[in-house]
């Protein structure tokens, strides 16, 4: 396909801490120049009208290929968790990788163990050849420490990061909330928040032992974050992420048995939430992701403990991230490190930054226009957002994938 060069002018480029006025040239599907002086003949010009021009969002760890939601949210690449399927064979991975064509990149995360059962190694090497960009333990962790150790060292030998869900299954068995006043008042089975730190502690010991790179997909407690902070100070190859829900909501959101706020890991105490905000600000948290997991009424319109966990997060990710900027927690540049640059690095793809030679996955962001989250009017195939009714600001107004306009 012959693509005309693209010249985006009058933009605020997000290529440093603060957006700056500038323009950008795309040729051959890649970023050819920032602030170009030489514009090729026949280039298409797009006037950004002063909006932010940023790298497309790379959403690390979604549970469904939900294109309308990703496009609404300015997400050009989605790293797909292995749970549906599960993605534990090369054929499945290959098919999943094609699931976004032509207007969305899908990067499958391979199941670390066969059937995600935590017992036998999956064919990680073959899945890598089929397009897997990392491996993941899925919605739960690998309980057997021996298996986990072998998974880590094997994946590391193939140059793949292991993406971990960190909750101790012994402590969380049957639990649907975090220990605290809310769970007690509602009469919900709950687990202590330390279940997360315990799981992280074990895996960090294995990282130290094997040298394998890992990413804890969601770290949501003060004690868990303290462990990550210490591991990073030691120089261990550790990254961690979070979703906006754990930054903006505490367990009071499950009051009245609101199943849209039933998440995994469950929402935490206000103290933990504050610790998460501090960890985003101080650089301990590396990735902000949506955890996109659309669930229809058959999974959510149930008594709380019978409902399945998960939220539709893709559409609100950017707006809630911009809220963190507006509230002074992070800079715009850091927001896009969390949303794009670090995920790209973890997945080993040439995207996620406004730099010459990168794939031209770009979004224009109107950072200020207010809108209201409405569970009944979502682009996602289910509206299970815990932010229903919340006023937010900012959205993606235009998108390109590899220089091709998709919105």
């Amino acid at each position: 396909m012959e693509l005309k060069p693209l010249h985006i002018v009058n933009a605020q480029l997000v290529d440093g801490d603060t957006p700056r006025a500038g323009s950008l040239l795309v040729a051959g599907g890649r970023i050819a120049a920032l602030d170009p002086t030489d514009i090729p003949e026949g280039a298409e010009t797009v006037d950004a009208k002063g909006q932010w021009l940023a790298p497309g969002i790379i959403d690390l760890g979604v549970f469904a290929t939900d294109k309308p939601a990703f496009h609404f949210g300015g997400i050009t690449r989605a790293a797909l968790m292995p749970d549906n399927g599960p993605l534990d064979g090369a054929g499945l991975v290959e098919r999943a990788a094609k699931g976004g064509k032509p207007d969305l990149w899908v990067h499958p995360l391979a199941a670390a163990t066969k059937g995600l059962e935590g017992r036998e190694l999956a064919e990680i090497g073959l899945m890598k050849q089929a397009g897997a960009r990392a491996i993941a333990t899925g919605r739960s962790r690998i309980a057997d420490s021996g298996v986990m150790r072998r998974v880590l060292s094997y994946a590391a030998s193939l140059g793949l990061v292991t993406i971990i869900h960190a909750e101790d299954e012994g402590l969380t068995a049957g639990a649907v909330a975090t220990d605290g006043e809310m769970a007690t008042r509602l009469g919900l089975a709950s687990a202590p928040a330390v279940a997360e730190a315990m799981a992280i502690a074990r895996d960090l010991a294995l990282v130290e032992e094997t040298g394998a790179p890992v990413h804890f997909r969601q770290v949501t407690t003060a004690r868990g974050l303290d462990l990550i902070r210490a591991a990073k100070a030691k120089g261990l190859p550790v990254l961690c992420g979070i979703t906006p829900a754990h930054l903006l909501l505490s367990d009071t959101a499950i009051g009245d048995f609101r199943t849209f706020a039933r998440l995994s890991p469950p929402l935490r105490s206000e103290d933990d939430r504050q610790a998460c905000l501090a960890a985003v600000a101080d650089g301990t948290i590396d990735v902000l992701a949506s955890g996109h997991d659309p669930r229809g009424p058959e999974d959510k319109r149930l008594p709380f403990a019978e409902a399945l966990p998960g939220m539709a997060g893709a559409e609100t990710l950017l707006a809630l991230g911009l809220g963190l900027v507006r509230d002074g927690h992070i800079s715009p540049g850091r927001l896009f490190d969390l949303l794009a640059a670090t995920p790209a690095c973890l997945l080993g793809v040439d995207a996620g930054r406004l730099a010459v030679g990168q794939e031209a996955d770009l979004i224009l962001v109107d950072a200020d226009t207010p809108w209201q989250v409405d569970a009944k009017k979502m682009a996602a195939w289910a509206g299970n957002t815990p932010f229903d009714g919340m006023p937010v600001q900012g959205r993606a107004t235009m998108m390109w994938k590899g220089g091709l306009r998709i919105r």
């Binding site: 220990d179 769970a183 008042r185 089975a189 403990a305």
Partner: protein, 331 residues
């Protein structure tokens, strides 16, 4: 001593303002005066129930009450059924626990079905916390919670409060120890809410494995030592211990539980000499409570609680259907 505790009607806001709820889903929604309003109304039904042959009032004649029990129950179901019938209502029982109705969208579907049958009140018991609220949000008639998971069992707390008030002459300023499996108990949660709200000192006495987290936020003190926990208590409220809790996961054995937490005559000496002993039933004699205490009519209020249960449920059914019945002031 009973009539002196009843407040005159002029003490309450007029008409429907005295009880501003369409449903009774939990004690958490109630104010102290609303609790006291229900207790006062129940006193009237205690008198009727004791009045000999004609224990009948027809104020709910023509109304249909459905008891939808998604979890097995004998005494609560029977109590609600008798309460409805004594008020003249047509009472239908649905034993969903024995049918194919288990969970899922079917719960809402079942609710919609009951609604379409134009029930005038629905009484629900369900094994999941929050299930009753879920149904209440979907139907047009009043819903009464007869127990949802570990969450609430409001009529039990109301009947317990009435029993205490009648025995002690008041249900405020008392020291009340709630003992046993608090973690899994909706009776405990509703009672903690009601009794603290009414101004009593509430203590929780339970093994640490059966104590819910964050109890201090519920305004109670927790004890793991039974003797210490019931010391100088006016009321010792025992909870039922389910057999499946004693298989090693939460407790080592029934006999160890009895040794550490069973209410024996010796142990009861720690409480005030005139302390009463309560139990929501059914009892495990010889495990959480000794027979000699359970059968001591001066101490034990167990049968009186059952009696108060019918009266309290009559009061709740009456109050919650006043809007449909067009009672003046209730619209």
């Amino acid at each position: 001593m009973t009539s002196s505790t009843i407040r005159p009607a002029s003490d309450y806001p007029p008409g429907g303002d005295a009880f501003r709820h369409r449903h009774l889903t939990g004690i958490a929604q109630l104010t102290p005066w609303e609790i006291s309003y229900v207790l006062d109304a129940a006193e009237e039904w205690v008198d009727l129930n004791r009045s000999g042959a004609a224990k009948h009032d027809d104020r709910l004649a023509g109304l249909t009450i459905i008891n939808a029990f998604f979890e097995n129950s004998t005494r609560t179901l029977l109590s609600f059924e008798i309460a409805g019938k004594r008020l003249g209502a047509d009472v239908v029982n649905m034993h969903a626990a024995q049918s194919s109705v288990k969970k899922g969208e079917t719960l809402i579907d079942t609710a919609m079905t009951l609604n379409a049958m134009r029930a005038d009140a629905i009484v629900i018991r369900h094994a999941s916390s929050g299930a009753v609220q879920l149904i209440a949000d979907k139907v047009d008639c009043p819903v009464l919670n007869a127990g949802d998971g570990r969450h609430e069992h409001p009529t039990q707390a109301l009947l317990d409060a009435l029993t205490i008030r009648r025995r002690k002459g008041r249900v405020e300023g008392l020291t009340i120890a709630i003992c046993g499996d608090v973690l899994h108990s909706r009776v405990a949660r509703s009672n903690i809410l009601a009794l603290t709200l009414l101004g009593n000192e509430v203590r929780i006495v339970a093994p640490p494995t059966l104590t819910p987290p964050a109890m201090e936020r519920m305004h109670v003190t927790t004890f793991t030592d039974m003797d210490e926990g019931i010391k100088d208590a006016d009321v010792v409220m025992m909870l039922r211990l389910q057999n499946e809790r004693m298989d090693g996961a939460y407790l080592p054995s029934a006999r160890e539980y009895h040794a550490l937490y069973g209410l024996t005559p010796k142990r009861l000496e720690q409480a005030k000499p005139d302390a009463i002993v309560m139990h929501p039933g059914p009892m495990n004699r010889g495990v959480e409570i000794d027979s000699s205490i359970a059968d001591d009519a001066d101490r034990s209020t167990i049968t009186e609680q059952v009696e108060m249960g019918v009266a309290v449920r009559m009061a709740c059914l009456d109050i919650l259907t006043r809007r449909q019945r067009g009672v003046p002031g209730w619209n």
